[in-house]
C-alpha cells in the first residue's frame, strides 16, 4: 500500500480515518483494499485532494464509498475541504491489497 502524499503525518491520520470506510460487498476497508492512491494537503486553500479508485468501474456502491470518504475526512480534518477524485488509471488489482487485507480475505 503506497499512498502518494505531500504530508506524511497528516496522510497517516487521514488513512487511519479512512479505515472506517468499508467496501460493503467485500467487508474490507478501502485502505487495506488499496483503493486510495494519493492524498495531498493544500495548506493555503485548506483543501484535501484524495485520489482513489474502485474495485471495478461498474461498482454499484461507488458514489456511497466516495461520500463516506468525504465524510470521514471532514470529520477528522474539519478545517479542510475534501475533494475526492475517482480514477481508474492504474486500474485496481489484487496486488494493491495490503498483507492484512489478504489475510482477511483468505479467512472469509
Amino acid at each position: 500500500m503506497n499512498v502518494i502524499t505531500n504530508n506524511n503525518l497528516k496522510c497517516t491520520i487521514a488513512l487511519a480515518a479512512l479505515q472506517n470506510v468499508e467496501d460493503p460487498e467485500i467487508g474490507l476497508n478501502i485502505v487495506d483494499l488499496g483503493l486510495v492512491y494519493q492524498i495531498d494537503f493544500d495548506e493555503t486553500a485548506m483543501m484535501i485532494f484524495c485520489t482513489m479508485t474502485l474495485t471495478t468501474q461498474f461498482c454499484p456502491m461507488g458514489e456511497s464509498i466516495t461520500n463516506a470518504v468525504k465524510e470521514n475526512l471532514k470529520l477528522r480534518f474539519p478545517e479542510y475541504e475534501p475533494i475526492i477524485e475517482l480514477t481508474f488509471y492504474p486500474p485496481w488489482n489484487h496486488e494493491m491489497i495490503s498483507e492484512a487485507g489478504q489475510d482477511f480475505l483468505n479467512q472469509r
Binding site: P60, N106, R108
Partner: protein, 317 residues
C-alpha cells in the same frame, strides 16, 4: 387470432425498438470497448427478431402470410427467444457480474468474443437451416456452435471462480454458479432428442416437455434466484443509505434480506426442480404434485425476501 392480439404484438415490437434505440445511444456514448454491451445489444436484436416472427405467426392464423402453418415455425420462434434473447443476455451480463461479485482477478475479453461469435453464429446457422433445408442432420452445426459458446462461458466462470480473491462463496453466488452448470443440462437433452428423432421419426413428448421445463425452471430461474439477491440489495441500499454513508454504521446490503430464507428457498428450488424433471420423465403424477408444491414454496420464499428488501426502512444511526 383477434385484433387485440395483433395490436398487442405491434406495441411490443415498438417497445423493443425503443429499448434498442436507448441501448444503441448509450453504447455510442461509451468511450471504451465494452463486450458486455455488445452481448446485450445483440440479445435485444434477437428479441426483436423473435417478436417479429411471433407477430407474423399471429397474423398467419388469420391471413396466410407464411408458406407453412404457424405451428411449424414455433421451434424457430422459441429458439430465437431462448438462445438469442435469454442465453445471450444472461451470458453477457453474467460475464460481467460473476467475476465482479467473486472479486476475481480473471478477465478475458478474447474468450467472451468467442462466446459471442459461437452463439450468434449458431443462431444464424439455425435460422438458415430451419428455413432453407429439410436435412435434420445439419442441425448439429448450430447445436455444436451454441454448445461451444456455453462450454466456453462455463470455462470463463470457472476461471473467475478459481482466481477469486475472496475465498468464501456466499449462498447467492453458489446458486448463480449452479445456474451456469445447469446451462449444460438442456444441451444434453437436446442431443438426446435429436438422436431419437434421427433414429425414429417419432418425437418423444416427455423428453421435449422436460427440455422446455429445464430451460425455464433450470438455469434461467436459478440465475434469477441467485442474482436478484446480489443486485437488488445494492439498489435498495443505495436508495436508503446513500445520504448516510460515512455518517455512522450502516447495515451491509446483504443484511437487508434474510439469508436463512434464501437458503430454504434454494433447498426447495433444487428439490422441486429435480423431482419435477423426474416426474415428467417417469410420468408420476404424485411426484409432479410434490415438486410443484416445492416450486411454489420457492416462489413464495423468493417473494417474501424481495418484499422484505423493498420494504426496508433505514435504521436510526
Amino acid at each position: 387470432m383477434g385484433l387485440h392480439t395483433q395490436c398487442g404484438g405491434v406495441l411490443i415490437i415498438l417497445a423493443i425498438i425503443s429499448y434498442l434505440i436507448n441501448l444503441g445511444m448509450s453504447m455510442v456514448k461509451t468511450e471504451q470497448e465494452n463486450v458486455h454491451a455488445f452481448f446485450v445489444f445483440t440479445a435485444a436484436i434477437w428479441l426483436l427478431t423473435t417478436t417479429i416472427v411471433g407477430l407474423l405467426l399471429v397474423y398467419n392464423f388469420t391471413y396466410p402470410v407464411l408458406s407453412k402453418s404457424s405451428l411449424y415455425y414455433l421451434p424457430l420462434h422459441a429458439h430465437l427467444g431462448i438462445a438469442g434473447w435469454f442465453l445471450l443476455l444472461i451470458t453477457g451480463i453474467g460475464s460481467r457480474l460473476i467475476p465482479m461479485f467473486l472479486i476475481s482477478k480473471y478477465s478475458n475479453n478474447k474468450t467472451l468474443w468467442w462466446i459471442y461469435g459461437s452463439i450468434n453464429g449458431g443462431l444464424l446457422a439455425f435460422v438458415f437451416i430451419f428455413l432453407y433445408t429439410d436435412n435434420r442432420l445439419l442441425m448439429a452445426i448450430p447445436l455444436l456452435a451454441v454448445v461451444a459458446g456455453i462450454v466456453l462461458f462455463s470455462y470463463f466462470c470457472y476461471q473467475a471462480y478459481r482466481q477469486r480473491i475472496r475465498k468464501k462463496l456466499d449462498e447467492q453466488m453458489k446458486v448463480s454458479l449452479l445456474a451456469v452448470l445447469m446451462m449444460l443440462i438442456p444441451v444434453i437433452f437436446l442431443v438426446v432428442i435429436i438422436i431419437i428423432l434421427l433414429m425414429s421419426a417419432k418425437e418423444n413428448t416427455s423428453l421435449v416437455i422436460t427440455y422446455g421445463f429445464i430451460i425455464f425452471f433450470g438455469w434461467i430461474t436459478a440465475i434469477i434466484l441467485g442474482m436478484t439477491f446480489k443486485t437488488l440489495p445494492f439498489i435498495v441500499w443505495n436508495k436508503v443509505y446513500h445520504q448516510l454513508a460515512g455518517k455512522g454504521k450502516t447495515p451491509n446490503p446483504k443484511d437487508l434480506f434474510s439469508n436463512t430464507i434464501f437458503k430454504w428457498m434454494s433447498v426447495a428450488y433444487i428439490f422441486g426442480f429435480v423431482l419435477f424433471t423426474a416426474g415428467i420423465l417417469l410420468d408420476f403424477t404424485w411426484l409432479l404434485q410434490i415438486a410443484a408444491a416445492l416450486l411454489l414454496v420457492t416462489a413464495l420464499l423468493y417473494n417474501w425476501n424481495v418484499i422484505k428488501l423493498l420494504m426496508h426502512k433505514p435504521a436510526s444511526l
